[in-house]
Point group: C2
Chain length 352, copies 2
Amino acid sequence: MNSWNGLLKQYKDYLPISENTPGLSLNEGNTPLLKLDQLSQELGISLYVKIEGANPTGSFKDRGMVMAVAKAKEDGSDAIICASTGNTAAAAAAYGARAGLRCIIVIPKGKVALGKLAQAMIYGAEIFEIDGNFDEALRMVRNIAETEPIALVNSVNPYRLEGQKTAAFEVCDQLGKAPDVLAIPVGNAGNISAYWKGFKEYVNDGKRPQMRGFEAEGSAAIVQNRIIPNPETVATAIRIGNPASWHLAEEAVLESQGKMDFVTDEEILDAYQELAKKEGVFAEPASCASVAGVMKQVASGEIEKGSSVVAVLTGNGLKDPSTAMDNVLVKPRVVEADKEKFMEELKGCVSH
Amino acid sequence: MNSWNGLLKQYKDYLPISENTPGLSLNEGNTPLLKLDQLSQELGISLYVKIEGANPTGSFKDRGMVMAVAKAKEDGSDAIICASTGNTAAAAAAYGARAGLRCIIVIPKGKVALGKLAQAMIYGAEIFEIDGNFDEALRMVRNIAETEPIALVNSVNPYRLEGQKTAAFEVCDQLGKAPDVLAIPVGNAGNISAYWKGFKEYVNDGKRPQMRGFEAEGSAAIVQNRIIPNPETVATAIRIGNPASWHLAEEAVLESQGKMDFVTDEEILDAYQELAKKEGVFAEPASCASVAGVMKQVASGEIEKGSSVVAVLTGNGLKDPSTAMDNVLVKPRVVEADKEKFMEELKGCVSH
């Protein structure tokens, strides 16, 4: 059965691994590709989700981070540094801990979900909050890594994309071929770029998928073709106004004959609840931009009926419990510990 | 690579599956077995963790729930019901959603971590809070299931243990044999019973492991051999004063020449932080009772040096972010967005 020992071992022939690269792993990768039965039927497509929240720290970031941290260790760094809104910080902290490297994380003050901040802290990362937004934090860590013996592990680190591309390999292996469409949330734009790199390396004979990226409306820098100084969206993990991999993402869309599009917060939250209530899948709000985008483009006819579509769910719903709480409509009902009263209450309820 | 399609398919020959059992799955099981390098060295044993938090809803409960809900659907129930402190509720709600069954959850008022409650709610479960503790909630759902066409999916449902035993199968397959010791948190005592059942069914020739169960000190009903009316522990998922599978758990310990023991909240929180900071593994506090117990029994000599030990981590750390926040010692430092000031601050810090 499970002979999985993490990405560096599984895909060593496709990754920049030398004999000196440490065998770092938290058993990342090998995440489920789940067919969504009810939504497939409703939309008239074959819809699958790649559940990246099953990774060790609960997001796709683990794929790139295991590669970046392994190379930092191989290159003799004794610390790693990054700027992050949350998921990157958690992944860096976990792999830093596993590798025995000091991990320094710079985040914008406020606006980071409790669970995410807690996670980096529990892994023992040293966390600094700066008075500024994500882009300013990113500028600072870039500057520091240029002059100090500290490895930058933000997505501008090329090893990150190398690790992340393995998700495309898995999609092909799990589906038996590439899907017609790959739908993916776009924040810093590294992941869409990595998937496309992965498909190009892995699919030589067959058809490669159209890459369809979805930004949140309030931070749709690429769609609007302008830097957004104060991005706003409920999908915090993609609330980024100046994506680091902007041009790679545009290339991916162009080369694959796909599209960069946006979805509203309302569409994201609707997809978030549909996924949970109809399929039993609880994904981080930002993740649901992909499924929301699929719904939008099926309705508009841009995704054809009958297509096979893989939507990437980038993070675990448990990453952001407060969004769940804010958007749950049915509150618990308080009843006495008495069977008859309970049954009265129960029979009076309308099933959701 | 990944041809995994969930437990009912993978282990159909070992499970009570008929031709009428629906192929229910959220791709549960196949969770990582991770070697803990640093803690193994420190303790002088080969220590592995079975990371059950990688399951679809973030805990081992998914294993039993997929089996129980599939049988409920096969038997014609149109609803499932359970009493739960959190993880069971989340699993029932997710599989209920996936199977298209109404899901009714009864919980004790208060004392359930935010993330857990949010999870069941987002999956669309109908949640009732009763003025009473867990044991009173359990009594009520048992009574209801006796007279109404509603399937009880608490751990007294025998299908739950059938599903849960598959974790023992995976441990054997991943390790290539059974370990010398299986260490596991004990709350309702279903999981230790299920693992032992699994080892007995799966290991015919080789040696079976000693089952070492660990209750929290404040809810150590089995160790103290008495019902605990008001159990108290930071490990909420095992805060149970009258375990449903009490006698099965005692049998497992007796037959395997293991031991039922307890650990303090301090030991649990210490293991919780050690796991995260030294190994990059973030598990729910209750999970860490197993690792805390291993540390305790290695120190006492009850677990021999050189043993191969698998400690079960029952749930994902993201299930309970507030415990993480309460126990993180280093708070974020706020600095100006200025490189020189940042470097001064950074160099002045002592690495953890």
